[in-house]
């Protein structure tokens, strides 16, 4: 499935032929996430404006500052850092490596984030109150026309009569 999503993004599959991919993206969280991540990776690789202006420079400096054990070119790179203009001319080759690193970092961060959201659910005291969590769930999936415009917070303060 991931491969097919990737192919769709790269225009290797015609949109008309991709209804099954699209359907699965609508129904499967995993597929939908893959779609988002692939786009994000693409953005980063193309250097789209997702990051701050000096991101490139900062990242290059950080990479240069790292001890590079395997690459004999490391020595050259560290001399280049003293001269910013040199970095610019070297960018195209180095950039794709940097972009890959960045993409991995970003995806890692986002996965971490999602994980945090899922686990960070504090237990709430519901014994004395109306089941507001169910009202929210009800409104999220079977909404009345007004539920989009109202903050749901108020329901928490209303007590549930037994």
């Amino acid at each position: 499935m991931s491969e097919q999503i990737s192919a769709l993004i790269d225009d290797e599959i015609a949109a008309e032929d991709a209804m099954h991919i699209i359907t699965s993206m609508q129904s499967q969280k995993q597929a939908a996430e893959a779609w988002q991540y692939y786009h994000l990776i693409g953005d980063v690789m193309r250097g789209d404006a997702a990051f701050s202006k000096d991101f490139k420079q900062n990242l290059m400096k950080k990479i240069d500052a790292e001890a590079t054990v395997l690459s004999p070119a490391a020595q050259k790179a560290s001399t280049a850092v003293s001269n910013p203009t040199l970095i610019k001319t070297k960018l195209p080759a180095a950039w794709s490596i940097a972009a890959s690193v960045a993409a991995v970092a970003v995806v890692g961060l986002m996965a971490f984030d999602t994980h945090m959201q899922n686990t960070d659910i504090a237990p709430i005291e519901i014994a004395q109150s109306i089941p507001s969590e169910y009202l929210l769930a009800h409104r999220a999936s079977a909404p009345s026309s007004g539920s989009y415009y109202t903050q749901p917070d108020y329901v928490q303060s209303v007590s549930f009569s037994q």
Partner: protein, 346 residues
């Protein structure tokens, strides 16, 4: 950075909906045919007017301000809705109290709301958003409600035909709908209970058709210095964190209140619950009701009883070691009957 991929996802979803949904609607047709106003119109003619209103909400381009009122609160919302022949774009900005922006493309919504120092972004599926409160397929509504012609009354400075939708039984509330005499657009809708009290009302105070065809307005005006939080509304079957499948025993439903159909069923992670909860959604075409089933949790007192908050009825009961909770904008009898329709296999 996140807004960016949300925008992508939204654009993409919209394109899909355009493919699936917006089969050629002839907009000019809608505008040129005035809504019939014959006295003593047979119900078929009223249904046609309502059918037209259901389509007009999607197929016309308009902007205006409407207010949403319940017994508890009132909100003004600025709406811009644009249909380009293929896809629908709408922006709703809540003008009162906490600002909120609701963007929809097709049936996919993104809601931006500031919370403390952050902007919370929620994604949802959207239906029934005013003025598109009527489903384009009215068959289920026809089974459960009788239309009745009312007066012509001005709404937002425009003449509107009132049509009542009266329930065929006491398992649902009645509705009063104002349909623009010229454009066929629904201008106002009110939900009325059995004691003739208005439970909820939503209507334009100002509305006009939209001529410009750009989408410059389809951008959230959020504070870019604030950070974003994605609110996951994930009714997916399993989550990595919970114990996977819900622990609900095999159940079935016998004896639903008449006119209600099951329209969806998901297992969802509900805030504060350790295991996924079964969530079943029922509809009678206009009103919707949610049923939740979960095992009774050790150490937490199960709930029983009925309660009405605003226009929403709650009913809780315990059945074979399961907590049943039913929630909906319907009379008490309906939520109680749905709760009692659930039975577990011994």
């Amino acid at each position: 950075m996140r807004t960016k991929y949300i925008a992508l996802a939204l654009t993409f979803a919209g394109a899909l909906l355009a493919l699936n949904h917006a089969s050629a609607v002839n907009t000019s047709d809608l505008i040129n045919t005035p809504v019939t106003q014959a006295k003593l119109a047979p119900s078929e003619e009223l249904w046609q007017t309502l059918q037209k209103a259901a389509v007009a909400a999607h197929a016309l381009s308009y902007q205006g301000i409407f207010t949403y009122q319940t017994g508890q609160q009132s909100k003004s919302v600025q709406i811009t809705h644009y249909f380009n022949g293929k896809g629908e774009f709408a922006r709703n900005i809540v003008l009162d109290a906490t600002p909120r922006e609701v963007f929809s493309q097709g049936g996919d919504l993104v809601i931006y709301s500031p919370r403390n120092e952050k902007i919370v972004i929620e994604k949802r599926r959207g239906q029934n958003m005013f003025p598109a409160v009527l489903p384009t397929n009215l068959n289920l509504v026809k089974e459960n409600y009788n239309p009745r012609l009312g007066e012509v009354e001005n709404v937002a400075g425009r003449p509107a035909q009132i049509i009542y939708l009266e329930p065929k039984d006491n398992l649902r509330y009645s509705y009063r709908l104002w349909v623009d005499s010229e454009y066929g657009l629904l201008l106002k809708s009110a939900m009325i209970n059995g004691r003739n009290e208005t439970m909820e009302q939503i209507g334009f105070v100002q509305v006009s058709l939209l001529n410009k065809i750009d989408l410059d307005w389809f951008v959230p005006t959020i504070d870019s210095t604030k950070s974003y939080v994605m609110e996951e509304d994930a009714p997916t079957a399993t989550s990595s964190k919970a114990d996977g499948k819900s622990k609900v025993a095999a159940w079935k439903i016998n004896g639903l209140p008449s006119g209600y159909r099951k329209v969806d069923q998901v297992e969802r992670i509900v805030h504060g619950k350790t295991a996924p909860v079964v969530h079943v959604i029922f509809s009678d075409g206009l009103a919707s009701v949610s049923l939740f089933i979960e095992p009774v949790i050790k150490g937490i007192k199960p709930k029983t009883g009925h309660m009405l908050v605003g226009n929403t009825s709650f009913y809780s009961s315990v059945n074979s070691g399961h907590q049943i909770t039913v929630v909906g904008e319907v009379p008490e009898a309906t939520v109680a009957q749905i709760a009692n329709a659930v039975s577990f296999k011994k």
